[in-house]
Amino acid sequence: MKRIVILGAGTGGTIMANKLRKALERDEWEITIVDKEPNHYYQPGFLFIPFGIYGKNDVVKSKAGFIPAGVKFIINEIDRVEPDSSKVYLTNGQTLSYDFLIVASGTHIKPSETPGLQGREWRKSIFDFYTHDGAIALHNFLKTWEGGNMVINIAELPFKCPVAPLEFAFLADEFFVKKGIRDKVNIIYSTPLSGAFTKPKATKMLGELLKEKNIQIVPDFYLERVDDENKNLVSYDGRELPFDLLTIVPVNMGADFIARSGMGDDLNYVATNKHTLRSDNWENIFVLGDASNIPTSKAGSVVHFASEILFENIMSAIEGRPLLAKFDGHSNCYIETGFGKGSLIDFNYETEPLPGTYPLPGMGPFGLLKNTRINHYGKVMFRWIYWHLLLKGKELPLESQMTMAGKEL
């Protein structure tokens, strides 16, 4: 019997379990998937919880319901991987040997990396919206908040879903307008980037949108620490930003077991070939999604597109053929911009987000870098697609390779 072990039962791991179980004979291949957490969270939905658009139960289901029959699901913490002997050790003493390993253990917020962040103000006037708990705590806070300086901060790059804090800013603007207290709230967007986003055309469009909504941007702000006594953010170059409410994207890091296994860089991301998605260092290890160091967004759409490439390549590796499928870094992100509208960006390693239209059979076209209602509905629809099609590894009418069709140069 040959063995595939998948570490992480999030978006990527679950998709791979479904694809591989369908493709590989059960009497030849045993597939095991490991995760410490029994719940599967629909992470794009966290963004809507603080504003009461989604409730806390709208974004969570049991992971087990998405793992296909014939795949062994172990809920336990991973202690470490020993890649040279192809073994995984769990904290309960169990050892798993593998012929192929897929690392899909994601990226997570690490508030402890920033001095003062998890001090006396944590979850009192400081919140994250990247965890279920954090989003719910922020929702409860916002129910009675009467206004002041709301600072949005990105502590470190890269971070998961690079458009999320922008969407958060836009939705906050709408929320305070509808509550009738927008004139009492200063929304300040502080980022280590030099503008609203990384690439020029998207930065321009999103920067103008921030301005239109009277959201102040503080660029090149690299957070050193939080002075929780005086409620100030302090940057490395000594600038201070006072806050009454801090909503922060803390430092993001890969799983702790990656560090314990000596497999990652200083942020616990695994060195991965950006085209084949195979580990740079071990031939029988593939890395999917946020856990890897490939130079594209850490985002669900990337995981989905990459899963198709990884599937082809791991099948090739199993059959001893060369890895011919090449990932292009394709990413596709809906951006909620508030008041029932949305924008969309579509890009890859080589092509920055461009304006134009995005063709999608049956529903589109959507407007790229445009602010439209149909884009918002695309985002709303996507939750259904996620639970019912995407996680189960079913075909979607989306190409894994980016297309230039509809894009304007």
């Binding site: 470190e156 790059l157 890269p158 690079p162 280590p192 980037l193 030099s194 986003f197 990384t198 690439k199 090149d220 690299y222 050193e224 490395y236 170059d237 860089d265 200083d266 942020l267 130079p295 594209t296 967004s297 990413s331 890009f347």
Partner: protein, 103 residues
């Protein structure tokens, strides 16, 4: 793209003023670019720049964080040496491409 004269040598630079060919770089050129950035270059600056050149020419992508953990300089010190936008300024002085944060 344009040609520019630094330390009596003609080099090609991008619109943002970054050298397009890292092999054209010399210490003297670095000193003149530093001056344009308002920096009087010292051995401490050179130590950081040597580190950045070495890693970059090996194909490693650097971040402010990874430089801060390198042992050559800490993050605070990096900001003190190249105020404001340390990675951008240091990259320009080091004669390598403008750092691009991936999305």
């Amino acid at each position: 793209m344009a040609e520019k004269i630094y330390a009596g040598k003609s080099v090609s630079v991008t619109d943002d003023g970054y050298l397009t060919d890292a092999s054209q770089w010399t210490k003297e050129i670095a000193a003149e670019i530093a001056k344009e950035e308002g920096i009087d270059i010292t051995d401490k600056h050179y130590a950081v720049i040597d580190f950045i050149r070495e890693k970059t020419l090996k194909g490693e992508a650097l971040t402010i964080r990874s430089i801060g953990k390198s042992g050559v300089v800490d993050t605070k010190g990096f900001y003190d040496l190249f105020p404001g936008a340390p990675l951008k300024k240091a990259s320009r002085i080091a004669g390598i491409a403008k750092p691009s944060s991936c999305v």
